[in-house]
């Protein structure tokens, strides 16, 4: 405990998750180091999103435990994990559709700001300063992810690629240590994917660790430092992309699965 920085940022030990009798994850162990881009791949239904939901507190694991930033988390609500420094995006975009792009990002700042009911009612100096800071940071983040439309545009009126990037901006607004992205390139064309790649590299360069679930193997291979492969809820391989690509088990899973 005396040297948190030396520990992996995220350490999963023998995570298991059942739905009814169905086992979605069994005995998954992995660790993510600070500052890396870690990829999680696998055929459809391999349990990637389930694992993601366990890490972000949406599901509670039935077995195993995980440590984040030196603390152990078990049966924690999503907002506790967000507080701890895990921010996420969703596979099927979940923005606050009827709020503006700017408001979406401002909500991401909720966690790191304090004003309560009395602040809202009195509108005192501290609250006004905080509101200004929230709006300023949100504007910067929109710019950072490359949304140049006015902040007053409703989230649902943004283009698909912009919505994906808005989700990333909203997640970044929580000042995360780990940014967890669930298929951020899904449905994007080649140009959009390229600019996403650049954005993710920029985010990593700023010191944020990235966990990436992706279907697009090419993107994963070109971007990630290390990759884990899930199949039928089990980790079948882990390592640097080049190794994993040549792993016979991985090849079998993808070819044998027939859905890739």
């Amino acid at each position: 405990m005396n040297n948190i920085a030396a520990l992996p940022l995220l350490q999963l030990s023998s995570i298991g998750k059942q739905f009814g009798g169905l086992s979605a994850l069994s005995d998954v162990s992995l660790h993510i180091r600070r500052g890396e881009i870690y990829g999680l791949i696998g055929p459809n239904g391999a349990g990637k999103t389930t694992l993601f939901n366990v890490i972000t507190g949406l599901y509670q694991a039935n077995a195993g435990e995980f440590q984040f930033n030196g603390h152990s988390y078990k049966a924690c609500k999503p907002h506790v994990l967000a507080q701890a420094g895990i921010a996420r995006t969703f596979q099927n975009i979940r923005l606050f559709a009827n709020l503006t792009a700017l408001e979406n990002v401002m909500i991401g700042r909720h966690l790191r700001t304090r004003a309560g009911v009395f602040g809202a009612l009195l509108h005192n100096l501290a609250t006004r300063n905080e509101e200004r800071a929230i709006a300023k940071r949100a504007g910067e983040l929109l710019h950072y992810v490359g949304i140049e439309k006015p902040g007053q545009t409703l989230a649902k009126h943004l283009s698909y690629g912009e919505q994906r990037r808005l989700e990333i901006a909203r997640a970044l607004a929580t000042d995360p240590l780990l940014l967890a992205l669930d298929e951020p390139a899904a449905g994007m064309n080649a140009t959009e994917t390229e600019s996403l790649k650049a954005l993710l590299q920029m985010i990593r360069a700023s010191g944020i660790t990235v966990l990436l679930i992706e279907h697009d193997v090419k993107l994963i291979m070109g971007l990630c430092d290390r990759v884990a492969v899930l199949d039928y809820g089990k980790k079948i391989a882990e390592g640097i992309p080049e190794e994993v690509r040549l792993n016979p088990g991985v090849i079998a899973a993808y070819l044998g699965g027939g859905d890739e």
Partner: protein, 307 residues
């Protein structure tokens, strides 16, 4: 012991009526995700129509055993038209509107129906004519009369029939498909509007039967009877898990039992502090307790939040 049995009998009879009405709520909810707040008033209109038809037929000298089914059928037809009209006027134009908009039109329809009924049938209670001897039977010290037996058996038969329609026919398959995924059903060639209309008509027909049963059981009908009945039946539907047909039946029967037993024993349980007029409180407390532990009702799906 006799009291317990008596309360159970009363509860099951009342509960079977709740179940029939609850089915109407749950079918519409299952397909449109909408609380058809006006459904209770449809029950009331069914009861009033049946009663008017019955009085007229008996007045013309039609024998009671013939008059009863005829008036029931007339009431069912009337309610089906009504249900169809409600959906066309108040719900269909708002299918893509904000979620609460159809709730307001539903409330509007309720108010309109209630007051129309008051204009047509007046404010007074209408007595239900005695058609059959209504022989009381003694079972283990408790009394059950013919009307109660008929109500219970008929309700069970109708529910069984409904299950057959939903699970064994083309129409039922279309209904389930629309409930599952409207868009996909449409792509598969299901005429969604037709299915929705039929659902409303089916539910309204059940409401007419329930209306007749209630007024026969209590010997009364009144323009205001739909409100509380609708509320109870909706509670029953939620208790069982709204959108689920078996849930509505179970919820209805359970609610009837809970109310009846609650009314019978609440005084003893609270040392006389709370009397039987707390019957409704009892039902709502049970509802809240059930939902706290099973947020989607007894038989409702546990919706695992998908991310």
């Amino acid at each position: 012991m006799e009291i317990l049995l008596q309360q159970i009998i009363n509860g099951l009879v009342q509960g079977s009526v709740y179940a029939l009405v609850a089915l109407g709520y749950t079918m519409v909810y299952g397909i449109l995700g909408l609380i058809n707040f006006a459904h209770g008033e449809v029950v009331m209109v069914g009861a009033m129509l049946a009663l008017s038809a019955l009085t007229a037929l008996l007045g013309w000298g039609v024998p009671p055993l013939l008059a009863l089914p005829i008036s029931l059928i007339l009431a069912m037809l009337g309610c089906m038209v009504l249900g169809y009209g409600i959906e066309r006027i108040a719900y269909r134009p708002l299918r893509h509107a904000p979620r609460l908009a159809p709730l307001i039109t539903a409330i509007g329809v309720s108010i309109v129906l209630q007051n129309l009924a008051m204009m047509v049938w007046g404010r007074q209670y209408h007595a239900f004519p005695q058609l059959i001897a209504n022989q009381p039977h003694l079972i283990g010290g408790a009394i059950i009369n013919d009307i109660q037996i008929i109500i219970f058996i008929m309700a069970l038969a109708i529910m069984a029939g409904l299950m057959v329609v939903v699970h064994r026919t083309r129409l039922g398959r279309a209904m389930r498909a629309v409930a599952e995924n409207q868009h996909a059903a449409q792509l598969m060639g299901v005429d969604i509007n037709r299915v929705i209309s039929i659902t409303f008509m089916l539910g309204s027909a059940l409401a007419a039967v329930a209306g007749l049963m209630v007024s026969a059981n209590y010997g009364l009908a009144h323009y205001y009877m739909g409100f509380l009945l609708g509320l109870k039946a909706f509670t029953a539907a939620v208790l069982g898990g709204i959108g689920n047909l078996r849930g509505a039946m179970l919820g209805g029967l359970l609610l009837g039992l809970i109310e009846s037993l609650g009314a019978g024993y609440i005084g003893d349980m609270t040392g006389g502090f709370l009397g039987s007029h707390y019957q409704d409180v009892f039902a709502f407390f049970v509802l809240i307790a059930v939902l706290v532990f099973r947020p989607s009702g007894l038989l409702g799906e546990r919706i695992a939040e998908r991310a």
